[in-house]
Each structure stands twice: as structure tokens, then as C-alpha cells.
């Protein structure tokens, strides 16, 4: 599949010890550069990452997924030769083949960022309630409608250096997905969506964020001052 050494995968990890090593090994068959950000896990995630061939950055305390992504992007963009960046979930939901297609698009088309979407292909594998909430989020967000995006909270994203350089996630928790969409709208990055498959395994369903967390996301996004650098 060609040389992917200019691609960096950023994987935020929080208490994923049972699966993280396998997920990293699997994805490293295609993408040799992986940085795992251990967000202050209380289990043995770090030890698992150490043996898996990924770079390891450890938050000394738990900060939240948004903060972990930002840390990972900052680490990856400082590595020599890094041109493309991918955010990738640690629980095995995402597929390396999807990432390959997204990177291919970044290389061949004039795009800055490619977002994974669950809503282009068949949506039957998405649990009903989840589908309903995700659709509602899209309807309520002006930025999403303006950019004609269909899936706000997909963890799979690929972007180039321009985006990585100016990436500045200030919402530490789960509000970062909406914040990234806002950034796309504000900075006028060229954006496209790519249909991806999300494997809702038993493990990822048990780990996945609960829908009630949407209330927290909404609150954090609404009640926010102009973020100062």
C-alpha cells in the first residue's frame, strides 16, 4: 500500500489495557508511526503500549479525551517527516483500511481534512438511540449544516500539516468534536467526508461514552468564553 511513514496516528488511551496492544499491532502493519497518549489510565495500559511498538506519551493525571488528542497532535507534529495526521480510537472500532482511503484522498485531492462518517453507507449496525442522537446533533449545529457534514462525533479524522499546526483544542472533555468542526468552519479548511465502518463490538459498546454525556458536551460548548491562547 505504499510508504506510509509520513503518516502519524494519534490514539488517545484511557483504561484500554485489554485491547490496546492488539489494536496498535494491527494498525502498525500499515502505519508504522503511532503515538498513544495514555490519559492517566489506572490500569496497565501504559505497559501494554510499551510492548506494542507505539510511541507513548503519558498524562500524569487524567485530563479528558480532548486534551489527550491535543497532546498527541503536538507530539506528532514535532516528529521529523510527519505530513499527515490521523485521530484513531483505542478500542478497536476503527479500521486501518478506512484510514488508508482517507490518507489517499488527502494525498490526491486538494483537501485539508477528511472526517469519517457513519452515515453514508448502511447505518443499520448503529444502535437506534445512538443514530437518533447523532442525527439530532447535526440538525442543531449551524457549523455542521453549513459544512454539510453528517457525523459530528466520529473519532476517525485525517488531516494535513496545516491543520495540525493550528490545531488548538481547549475543551478537555468530549466537547472537542464540536470544537474541531468549529475550527474547520472558522479557518475555512477544505473538508470532505469519507464513509467508514465502525465496529460496535461488545467491548467498545461497554466502553463507549454514554448518550447522557451529550448534555455535558452541550453545556461546555454553550457556556464558553472566547478561548485565549
Amino acid at each position: 500500500m505504499g510508504d506510509q511513514r509520513d503518516v502519524w496516528l494519534v490514539v488517545p488511551v484511557y483504561n484500554e489495557a485489554p485491547v490496546i496492544a492488539d489494536v496498535v499491532r494491527e494498525v502498525r502493519r500499515t502505519f508504522p508511526n503511532v503515538v498513544c497518549v495514555d490519559d492517566g489510565s489506572r490500569d496497565r495500559s501504559s505497559d501494554q503500549i510499551r510492548g506494542s511498538g507505539a510511541h507513548l506519551v503519558r498524562h500524569p493525571v487524567n485530563l479528558g479525551q480532548g486534551a489527550a488528542l491535543q497532546t498527541g497532535v503536538e507530539y506528532a507534529r514535532a516528529q521529523p517527516g510527519a505530513q499527515y495526521f490521523v485521530t484513531f480510537d483505542a478500542d478497536g472500532q476503527h479500521q486501518a483500511e478506512d484510514v488508508e482511503r482517507m490518507i489517499q484522498r488527502l494525498r490526491n485531492e486538494s483537501l485539508d481534512i477528511v472526517l469519517g462518517t457513519r452515515f453514508h453507507a448502511t447505518t443499520e449496525n448503529i444502535p437506534f438511540l445512538k443514530r437518533f442522537v447523532l442525527k439530532t446533533v447535526v440538525l442543531l449545529s449551524p457549523a455542521l449544516r453549513k459544512l454539510k457534514l453528517t457525523d459530528a462525533h466520529n473519532g476517525l479524522r485525517a488531516f494535513n500539516r496545516t491543520v495540525a499546526e493550528s490545531m488548538n483544542i481547549t475543551l478537555n472533555g468530549m466537547g472537542h468534536a464540536s470544537q474541531i468542526v468549529e475550527m474547520i468552519a472558522r479557518e475555512e479548511w477544505r473538508v470532505a467526508e469519507e464513509p467508514v465502518t465502525i465496529l460496535y463490538t461488545e467491548y467498545s459498546m461497554a466502553k463507549g461514552q454514554s448518550l447522557i454525556n451529550g448534555v455535558n458536551i452541550l453545556f461546555d460548548s454553550l457556556l464558553r468564553t472566547n478561548a485565549r491562547r
Binding site: 510499551r50 511498538g53 510511541h55 500524569p60 503536538e74 507530539y75 478537555n172 457556556l223 468564553t225
Partner: protein
């Protein structure tokens, strides 16, 4: 009633002001002035309850104590928002500090991956 307009307009204006200017010196000064005014109002309410009752009837509130209560509710709401924003700001600084520490002690695989070398790819 006049009090309804006063309370609603005051609340809306304050929320907008807070979200736009939070953290600036001017906002800090305004908050302190507001707090001082609120204290003065409290002292006056204790010393001259009839005056407060008079003021209350001017704006359409039954009793002076009710007026004090309304003011207290608004003040409490703002104290809460202020604290919330302050916490968020601290959280962000704390995250940046933790990030700096984390990036300093990053481990690359060559250092820890000797037994796996060659088996991958």
C-alpha cells in the same frame, strides 16, 4: 411590572458581558464593583428597611425583603457562572501544564521495544 423587565434585562446583559469579557481586567473590576454595590445594598436594607420597601413598591415588588431576595438570586447566579468559568480556565492551564510534563517524558518505541524489533511489519 417594572421589576420583571429590570431582572430580565440585567440577567441577559450580564451573561453576554461575562462570556465576552471574562478574564479581562475590566471584567474583573466590574465584578468587584458589582459586589461592592451589592454589599452596600445589603447594609442599607438592614439599616433602613422602610427605604428598601419604598424602593420595592417603586419597581412593583410587594415588600423590601422580596426585592432583596430577587437581587440575591441574580447575584448568586452570577457568582455561579463566574466560578464555573474560572474553573474551566484553571482546567485549561492545568491541562497545558500536564501536557508539557507529558511531552517531556515521552517514550519512543526504540527505547523499550527491543524484543519486538523485527517481528513487526
Amino acid at each position: 411590572m417594572l421589576i420583571q423587565y429590570i431582572l430580565i434585562v440585567a440577567t441577559v446583559l450580564l451573561v453576554i458581558f461575562f462570556l465576552r469579557h471574562h478574564g479581562t481586567t475590566r471584567a474583573g473590576a466590574v465584578v468587584k464593583l458589582g459586589f461592592a454595590l451589592f454589599l452596600v445594598f445589603g447594609v442599607v436594607a438592614v439599616l433602613a428597611p422602610t427605604q428598601v420597601s419604598h424602593l420595592a413598591s417603586l419597581v412593583g415588588v410587594g415588600r423590601g425583603t422580596d426585592l432583596v431576595l430577587y437581587a440575591l438570586v441574580v447575584a448568586f447566579g452570577f457568582a455561579t457562572i463566574n466560578t464555573y468559568l474560572r474553573f474551566k480556565e484553571l482546567e485549561l492551564r492545568y491541562a497545558r501544564l500536564a501536557r508539557a510534563v507529558a511531552l517531556r517524558s515521552a517514550e519512543s518505541p526504540e527505547a523499550s521495544d527491543t524484543e519486538h524489533d523485527g517481528t513487526l511489519h
